[in-house]
Amino acid sequence: MLDIELGSSSRTCDGMHRRGFLRLGSLAFGGLSLAGVLANQSFAAGHSNRKAVIQIWLAGGPSHIDMYDLKPSAPAEYRGEFRPIPTNVDGIEISEHLPHQAKVMDKLAIVRSAYHTNAGHGMGSQWMLTGWQPTIEVNNNIFPACGSVVSRLKGANDPALPAYVNLPNMLGLGKSAYLGASFNPFAPDSDPNNDGFQVRNLKLPGRVDPARLENRRSLMARVDTIRRDLDTKSDMQELDKFYAQGLEMVTNDKTLKAFDIKAEDPALRERYGRNDLGQSCLLARRLVESGVSYVTIQAGGGWDTHGDNFKALKDNLLPKYDMALAALVNDLAERGLADDVLVMAFGEFGRTPRINPGAGRDHWPGAMSVVYGGGGLKMGQAIGETDSKAEAPISKPYTPGDVLSTMYRVLDIDYRHVFYDEARRPLPVLAEGNPIPELV
């Protein structure tokens, strides 16, 4: 046991500035790491690690029982038509339609026993993307998305790049809520699989060449001379900073290169899959390499398979997703980034194990599978177990807070850090949950 005097600037779990002690007894899980505490105390001075997260968001709710948690001995109206196949880890089987992932199972970990209790898309999504279950169904963030939190508490690994990026477009529930607009995601708004891929507004308009932009900048220095202290919140100066960063990004090679997916080896682009998801995954890898700290990729909206579940999965959804995720974890491993970059894939919930009359499956938050790759976590395992029909965890039930605190832990972010919303309500990053012990 070790008592650490954190001084009067530390925040205790009730969010008040107060002199307090932190007891570090069992560091295995459940508590803060010392590094996390110190890093958070000095987050304004810059977070020192280069860790990053790539989140693949399977919007609509991916079918756990057809992907990672197959039940071949369940009755026919449950088990569906897919067969399990072995993977490169003994004893772990996944769907026959995830053959690429089966070959890299040693670089992945599946949590089969995640669950929550809200079967609505909006509320379930907000819960899984923020860690908080909203009380109303709205199409906007009431709580900040994880990427916004990371942007606020850690920032970008390289200041020339945005901290938090959504690919290819802005995610509806990926925003910053009470953290303020500055922590919203940056999105290219363009499909990286297209030959004409172009980050929105990052390329100069046709009529404006770099020389002309330079003329404008120098003219600006002589025209835009109004005092910067006319407001009380430093918004004017803040805007100056974003102008410096923005115009730098447009002209700086580093940023343009980070987004320049065409610089990738065509063979590698093929391995990821020549489609929006595959190329978004590849672009995400380029971005985190260059200094983005959190990327959320939208893996299409087709996962809400109420009808024709099996056809949609095997013909469309799974092949793209299978290739992209497998290529990503392989690529990261080959580049020695497996420990620095955490990949996560999940949606807002699982799907009803009982097949509906339209050969589809409906919303099912009672059990869902969550996939992790890298991040220095323990890979090559399947964690937790659901009952014989994949309806509910029978061991190691894990909540959204557990799932997300595992990610924050990889980034060394204190997920009990308290923010205040507009009503001055103290809101910790996560109100519940602890890192999944089998992974850390």
Binding site: T12, C13, D14, G15, M16, R18, F21, R23, G25, S26, I136, E137, N139, N140, P162, G180, A181, S182, N184, D189, R200, N201, K203, L204, P205, R207, V208, R212, N215, R216, L219, M220, V223, D224, I226, R227, D229, L230, D231, T232, D235, E238, L239, D240, F242, Y243, Q245, G246, L247, M249, V250, R416, V418, E422, A423, R424, R425, P426, P428, A431
Partner: protein, 771 residues
């Protein structure tokens, strides 16, 4: 006079008007009767008499003290003694055991609002391990608190501290349950109430609790303190305030057993002023603002020039930039009252109701959720019409709160429709926030932590909506007043449907034919209503001055007092006596000298951010900025399914796609809070403004301003001048003319050079801020 059983009393010592409680030294003549610590806090020990000697430099004072014998062994009481400790040490806060899910299986009511619940949780749950009557020292309550067994919240108190001894004594007494007779705290008082403090000055506070049985007790050491502006003043756990380096005002909140009181720490900007010759008040706003400045030693910035004024007031009243012609005419106008004439002209123009309809429509959540497009148009137009005709505000509110019928007749039912059936309870908190300036949503589940509002207040207000019925057809469906309870909501305190009770007032009764919602508006619009008028005038103040007199504008509470209470009272009074004339308040504000002040700080007010000694600049909101860009470029944005002439501020709901407006944080209308708009800057905004095709196309538009100027073969000096007039509502300075003309004249392609100049102007801080 104290009782013998470890009662506390905080001395407050001052010398020449300054608090020296923390600098003085203290000695007790009879420590066995009463001890005193270095901070002047006396603790009684036994019956008898003693003297406390207070020494400060050469001076000393003796304080005689009588300690009365107690009637017996002191009974430590759960409600009066133990619960305050749980609050004081953060155990029942929202981040720990006070949150809805508790912490590690142990849940307390938030900040101790529910004594019965907390007693049960401590004494009866966890198989009695939290309280061990057989071995009191082994009670988890104690061992967790001192950290001798692992505790997620760490060590909270020291073994042997007063708090420890108090809890131990209570357990040793058998952890008695509080009874109905146990005194409750009815209010707390803080001494002093307000002080002017110089940098680094210390001020000790004393907090006294009054109980239902008429007794009082010094609770200085068991109160929870907080400052709302740390850089102005901080407060420690023992109620010691330290003034900071920055001038301004801080509110120190003291919270004890659900009651709050505040101390106002004033760090003056300079020595008090007898006169402010440079500022001659024009109306009550000016007079009361100036009174405050004198007290704080603040001097106002000079009035802004005419150009700044026409830009400022046109943006604030109509959400658009003044046109080049308007600016030229105004600057040339020599009449002495041209500013107030301008205000009247703008208020009479259709642009004023258009802009304020946007403002209200956003916070009234006028949305087209589930495709109620027509209803959203109707509600928007209804709001605009009310403002155009300047209907009294209470009638406007009645049209919303008591809306009944089909949307064609009562478009405001779209407000109810936004909450559907499953969230209909939201109208209760929304009513409080919108029209009373009270944030009551917390009190649905627990006592408001910073205010006196509890669940009985929330469900009292909910009672007015409990009979709101709706038909099952239409988008939105008709709403009506039912004779029976319809919402199915239950007050958890009574397990009955909520019954109407006015906030801070009496129960209300309504016959089945009466619509309780009308009763609610009747109550609101009474002249003496303490919330209604203030909430409106404060919201308007926030609109014109960037922040409210109470800020945020809809968060009025004791612990968030107005920066200038007299000024808020004056405006509320004006509003009431004018029979809720919205335009009267708007005109009072915009014709005040205060509103005309320059935003440029001077040394005597550079740290002022609460008292409006200068105008506080702010970024244009999304819709207004887009209109300003289009106005400057003489272009139109196409919003799709609406008149081609519609400006962004005219859009009736949020459903018109616009990357521009979304990038500048147009609200989605999911909240009644004005804070749904964020002024924060983002990278995407900068890229949009500086390197997007969208902006470049506006700048170089074939039918835009530059195209016209070049087609008309306008001379270069006039081109430069017109761009400044259109964007900044002012003529360029001689130097700016020189820079602009040189840039155009030296370019091969003057049109392109003019585009560069326009780009520069649109990307300048002067353009995107109202200053």
């Amino acid at each position: 006079m104290l009782n013998s059983s470890r009662e506390l009393f905080q001395l407050l010592v001052s010398s020449e008007g300054n608090d020296v409680t923390q600098q003085a030294s203290y000695q007790s003549s009879h420590p066995e009767i009463a001890t005193v610590d270095a901070r002047g806090s006396i603790t009684s020990q036994a019956a008898g008499e003693a003297k406390i000697t207070v020494t400060m430099g050469d001076a000393s004072v003796e304080v005689p003290l009588v300690v009365n014998a107690d009637s017996g062994t002191r009974q430590v009481n759960f409600r009066t003694d133990i619960q305050p400790l749980l609050s004081r040490h953060g155990c029942n806060s929202g981040g720990c055991h006070g949150k809805a899910s508790g912490q590690n299986g142990f849940k307390l009511s938030l900040f101790g609002f529910d004594t019965e619940f907390d007693y049960g949780a401590l004494v009866h749950e966890a198989r009695g391990r939290r309280i061990d009557l057989a071995a009191p020292e082994r009670s988890l309550l104690l061992t967790k608190s001192i950290g001798s067994v692992p505790h997620g919240g760490g060590k909270r108190i020291e073994t042997g501290s007063d708090a420890y001894e108090m809890m131990l004594a209570w357990i040793q007494n058998g952890a008695p349950r509080p009874t109905e007779e146990t005194p409750r705290v009815v209010e707390i008082q803080i001494e002093p109430a307000e002080r002017i403090l110089q940098p680094g000055a210390l001020q000790q506070l004393r907090v006294t609790a009054n109980y239902t049985d008429g007794t009082t007790r010094d609770v200085t050491r068991n109160t929870d303190y907080g400052s709302n502006v740390d850089v102005v003043a901080t407060v420690d756990e023992q109620g010691g305030v330290t003034a900071g380096e920055q001038s301004g005002e801080a509110t120190i909140m003291a919270r004890y057993m659900g009651q709050v009181a505040v101390f106002r720490a004033i760090r003056p900007h300079g020595a008090p002023l007898a006169e402010l010759p440079e500022f001659e008040p024009r109306n009550g706003i000016d007079r009361l603002a100036a009174e405050k400045w004198k007290k704080l030693g603040l001097r106002p910035s000079p009035p802004c020039d005419d150009a700044t004024f026409i830009r400022r007031v046109t943006l604030d009243l109509t959400g658009r930039l003044p046109t080049v012609d308007e600016v030229r005419a105004f600057l040339a106008d020599e009449s002495p009252d041209k500013r107030s004439q301008l205000v009247d002209r703008l208020l009479d123009s259709p642009d004023y109701p258009a802009y304020f309809a946007l403002k209200w429509s956003a916070i009234l959540r006028n949305s087209r959720l589930a495709g109620a497009d027509q209803a959203a148009y109707a509600f928007h137009n209804w709001i605009r019409d009310n403002i155009a005709r300047n209907r009294p505000y209470d009638e406007f509110v009645r049209g919303i709160v008591a809306a009944s019928g089909e949307w064609q007749d009562a478009p405001a039912i779209n407000w109810y429709w936004q909450s559907r059936d499953d969230q209909l309870h939201m109208v209760t908190a929304d009513t409080a926030q919108l029209f009373l300036g009270i944030r009551l949503q917390c009190a649905r589940c627990h006592h408001h932590p910073y205010e006196r509002w509890g669940q009985e207040d929330y469900f009292g207000l909910a009672g007015f909506y409990a009979r709101l019925g709706r038909k099952s057809f239409g988008q939105p469906p008709p709403y009506y007043n039912s004779s029976k309870n319809t919402t199915g909501e239950r007050n958890p305190l009574t397990n009955q449907p909520p019954t109407p009770r006015y906030p801070d007032g009496e129960e209300a009764e309504f016959s089945p034919e009466q619509d309780p919602r009308h009763g609610l508006v009747d109550w609101m619009s009474q002249p003496e209503n303490p919330f209604f008028a203030k909430a409106f005038v404060n919201r308007m103040w926030g609109h014109f001055f960037s922040i409210g007199l109470v800020n945020e504008v809809d968060d009025m509470r004791e612990t968030n007092p107005p920066s200038n209470p007299e000024l808020l009272d004056y405006l509320a009074e004006e509003f009431v006596t004018s029979k809720f004339d919205m335009r009267h308040i708007v005109r009072l504000i915009t014709t005040s000298r205060l509103y005309e002040l320059s935003s440029a700080p001077r040394p005597e007010n550079e740290y002022d951010n609460q008292n409006f000694a200068r105008f506080y600049a702010r970024r244009l909101i999304a819709e207004v900025l887009l209109d300003a860009v289009d106005g400057t470029c003489e272009t139109k944005s196409n919003f799709g399914n609406i008149s081609f002439n519609a400006r962004a501020v005219d859009l009736p709901h949020e459903g018109f796609g616009s990357y521009f407006m979304d990038t500048f944080d147009r609200p989605q209308r999911v909240s009644v809070c004005e804070c749904e708009r964020s002024p924060g800057a983002t990278l995407a905004q900068v890229l949009l403004m500086s390197t997007s095709d969208e902006m470049e196309n506006k700048i170089a538009d074939g039918n835009g301003r530059l195209a016209r100027l070049f087609k008309e073969e306008t001379p270069v000096p006039t081109v430069v001048e017109e761009l400044y007039l259109a964007a900044f509502a002012r003529f360029p300075s001689a130097e700016e003319r020189q820079v602009g003309e040189d840039y155009l004249n030296s370019a091969e392609d003057k049109r392109k050079a003019a585009e560069d100049l326009l780009w520069t102007i649109l990307n300048s801080r002067e353009f995107v801020f109202n200053h």
